[in-house]
């Protein structure tokens, strides 16, 4: 049991001593991504090998959370960021274990396992040298990939729960003032000032009050919240305890989607361990303040991330939003004052308390403070999670950290903000990334999704893709969203199929405006964004589809034909074996041809031809 700062520090010291006794520390990422690429087998085998060498006392092998490099998993880091290995065990597990053992024994760096840069030749030894990492400012994710998320002692040894202790010495109102002055804004989408929200909830009448963490993360492809919950669950818990104390609440809920079993597992362990140590429960640090946290596993509907739907869902009702003319800070869960924040928002709180609001306020832009985690995916060379200061430019994220566009194709747009975000074209790449500039561009911060697109992405098709998602995820409660979004989809789908009519674009704009104005919740109100932002910046592309029945990116199958230019084809034989339906014929060094009747227009031949001989129109 920890009841004083001395005891907390004592435990930290004990842990430091314990890990200091090892001559080597090997950190194996056991996040969802790396586990699915085989990290647990690597963990077992390496432990066996180390035991066989009688090195168990000298070498500590531990499981950590996600580094955000999941595509290159399993990831292993030696010591304090000395060496980073990627795709360990992917070719041959036994071979790689032997190689790892070499590094363990004498520090030999295994070239083959090193992270290869975007130019595929340069290998980096330390993660500090990898541009993808070096350009980041890790605050929320600082301990992801460093500590064992299932061991509370580790978190404490890195200064964990000191912020709770400090906060409990402060006046609750002063804490809220700090959060306010830090400029922290919600990381879940809306970007609402966290301090303002806390104050409204504290000032609302009604007992009990609830604090809730939103870990629903419904955006397809996003995984920043999952990584955080899996990799550093105590940070979220610590933030919630502080929030509970400041707001005057003794009860917390963490809402996690059911598809995140590992996050649920790690959070459950963290809660249990915190309770064992007296850091959750009654009378924390002898302050008289008590706090408990329950995990609620959500069914995984996208709309359940919306505040009122989430609360309905916790109450055991259908996950449908309700009108928010009376705010949830006044009447939320069971009609009691409730404060909902995204898990990343909660994880910022201990840092602000520890380092002071001035520190947080010094990072970022005038209106957007601190750092933000993005999931960078799509046609960039380096994909994964990046944590960067607010105000960094899109250019830096995509070209410096992301290493630029795959195959050095032309950048076309970046989609930010999740399914109801928007597409931003090249001329705005120098815009600083913050809440307000993204909104101004017709997109939004959302929860931090960032999908990079190149010349081979059709913007009408992109709009169609997101609309489809939103049609399926609309809860169906209100007419404009339920009926309107599917009609927008029909119109866009028709355009992609070559059946677009003159006036469709104007019709889309009108319908979009009605849906934005008339829908009950933010899902419907923002559902037209993907269409509106692509019309705003790529209107020509819509018009070409409608008037000339052409898809300039060669994506919309009904509007595209692939041919091979006999002038350019060298008969290199590269495309034919790659064609999934074997409809390319030709002999070596002779011009190849495509059988149009069989071609499924997948574009593979175009992508593989090195002579630019494949054309589409």
């Amino acid at each position: 049991m920890i009841a004083s700062i001395e005891q907390l520090d004592g435990m930290a010291a004990e842990y430091k001593q314990k890990t200091g006794a090892y001559s080597k520390i090997v950190k194996i990422c056991c996040g969802t991504g790396c586990i699915s690429s085989g990290a647990l087998r690597v963990y077992e085998k390496l432990n066996e090998a180390i035991a066989a060498e009688r090195l168990t006392d000298k070498v500590l092998v531990k499981k950590t959370g996600c580094h955000g490099l999941c595509e290159r998993g399993p990831i292993i880091v030696f010591g304090d960021d000395e060496i980073l290995y990627q795709t360990v065990g992917k070719r041959n597990l036994d071979d790689d274990i032997r190689l790892l053992l070499k590094t363990v024994k004498d520090g030999t760096v295994v070239e083959n396992l090193l992270y290869k840069g975007e130019d595929k030749t340069k290998r980096h030894v330390s993660p500090r040298d990898i541009p993808f990492y070096a350009g980041q400012t890790r605050v929320v994710l600082a301990l992801n990939g460093v500590l064992d998320p299932e061991d509370i002692g580790e978190y404490i040894s890195f200064g964990g729960y000191r912020a709770v202790h400090k906060a409990l010495q402060m006046d609750p109102v002063q804490i809220i003032e700090w959060i306010q002055k830090s400029g922290l804004r919600g990381r879940g989408g809306g970007g609402f000032l966290t301090g303002t929200k806390w104050r409204s909830c504290r000032d609302a009448s009604g007992e009990p009050r609830y604090v809730i963490a939103n870990g629903d993360e419904g955006d397809p492809g996003a995984f920043m919240d999952r990584s955080l919950m899996e990799g550093n669950p105590h940070a979220v818990i610590e933030g919630m305890i502080i929030g509970g104390y400041a707001i005057g609440s003794n009860h917390g809920f963490i809402y996690v989607r059911d598809e995140y079993p590992l996050a649920v597992h790690r959070l459950s362990i963290a809660i249990e361990k915190a309770k064992e140590q007296g850091l959750l429960g009654a009378n924390i640090f002898n302050s008289g303040f008590g706090f408990d946290i329950k995990i609620y596993r959500g069914g995984g509907a996208f709309v359940c991330g919306e505040s009122t739907a989430l609360m309905s869902s916790i109450e055991g009702k259908t996950g449908e939003p309700r009108a928010k003319y009376i705010h949830t800070v006044e009447k939320g869960l069971w009609d009691k004052p409730s404060n909902l924040n995204n898990v990343e928002t909660w994880a910022c709180v201990p840092h602000i308390i520890n380092r002071g609001w001035e520190w947080f306020d010094s990072i970022g832009t005038p209106q957007s403070k601190g750092t933000k985690v993005f999931s960078l995916v799509g046609k960039v060379k380096n994909t994964g999670l990046v944590e960067v200061p607010m105000g960094i430019t899109l250019n830096e994220i995509i070209f410096k950290l992301g290493g630029g566009i795959q195959g050095d194709k032309r950048f076309k747009a970046v989609q930010t903000g999740g399914p109801s975000g928007g597409c931003i074209p090249g001329e705005y790449l120098d815009m600083p990334v913050d809440f307000d500039s993204l909104t101004k561009l017709g997109s939004m911060m959302g929860s931090g999704g960032m999908i990079v697109m190149d010349e081979r992405d059709c913007m009408v098709d992109v709009a169609r893709y997101f609309l489809k998602f939103l049609v399926d995820e609309s809860c169906g409660k209100c007419t404009p969203c339920r009926e309107g979004v599917r009609r927008m989809f029909e119109i866009v789908d028709n355009i992609c199929k070559g059946n677009g009519l003159k006036g469709d674009v104007e019709h889309l704009e009108e319908l979009a405006r009605a849906i934005q104005l008339g829908s009950l919740c933010a899902l419907g109100q923002s559902a037209p964004n993907p269409v509106l932002s692509t019309i705003k910046y790529f209107r020509d592309e819509y018009n070409i589809h409608i008037e000339q029945k052409r898809c300039p990116a060669g994506v919309c199958k009904a509007l595209t034909t692939f041919t091979i230019d006999p002038e350019k084809c060298t008969g290199c034989m590269r495309c034919a074996p790659e064609c999934p339906v074997a409809c390319i014929s030709g002999e070596k060094k002779k011009v190849h041809t495509i059988d149009r009747s069989k071609c499924i227009k997948c574009g593979t031949c175009y992508d593989v031809c090195r002579f630019g001989a494949v054309k589409y129109e």
């Binding site: 609309s474 007419t479 029909e490």
Partner: protein, 236 residues
Amino acid sequence: MVEFTINGKKVEAEKDEAILDVAMREGFDIPTLCYHDTLGSDGRCRLCVVEVRKGNRKRIVTSCLYPVENGIEVLTESPDVLLVRKTVLELLLARCPDSEVIRYIAKEHGVSNTRYAKDNDKGKCILCNLCVKTCEFNVGVTALGMSGKGPAKKVTTPYGEPSRVCIGCGACVAICPTGHIYMEDRDGVRMIWNKRFELARCPKCNRYHAPVEQLEFIAGKSGTPIEELLICPDCK
């Protein structure tokens, strides 16, 4: 007491009243579909939207839910209001092409056609949820619910099977604004929500008047002897 204006006219209201209630009392015409005076509204149909102006800010809200506030200006016919209202009607016309009620209201608001492909699988249901609520709160049995999401959402009994708890009272039929729910009484049998109900005969006039299950349900709840309930309202 709260004071504000509707279309420029000064009005007064009690705190916590919804704009719609005040507007109706003051004689303004705001169309509604999912609002009911005892069951309230969940803000589903979005037909009742109005524009609320507060200083420089304006927003579109559903009048059936928005609580009155001092000093607001409410507009029931602004361009944005008309855009939303007409769009909702055009969308509902496509969803329920056979509904006379929707056709009528749409026409009243200048919408006589829909540009969208007409559905043929939704019947006349506009998903107002009133049947679900009346069954739960007025009848007290919860035989109905909404299932599915997005365009696939529908009103149904559990798993679409004849409900064990439905008493065949027809309250849902009576409240449905569009006449979507099928109910038929023939030869002493009532069919509703795929369930068969034996109808009770009035011992005095010999007419069929209510399902036996409904009368038993009322008897059980109220303690009134079933013999008394068997007598139809006309002969009482």
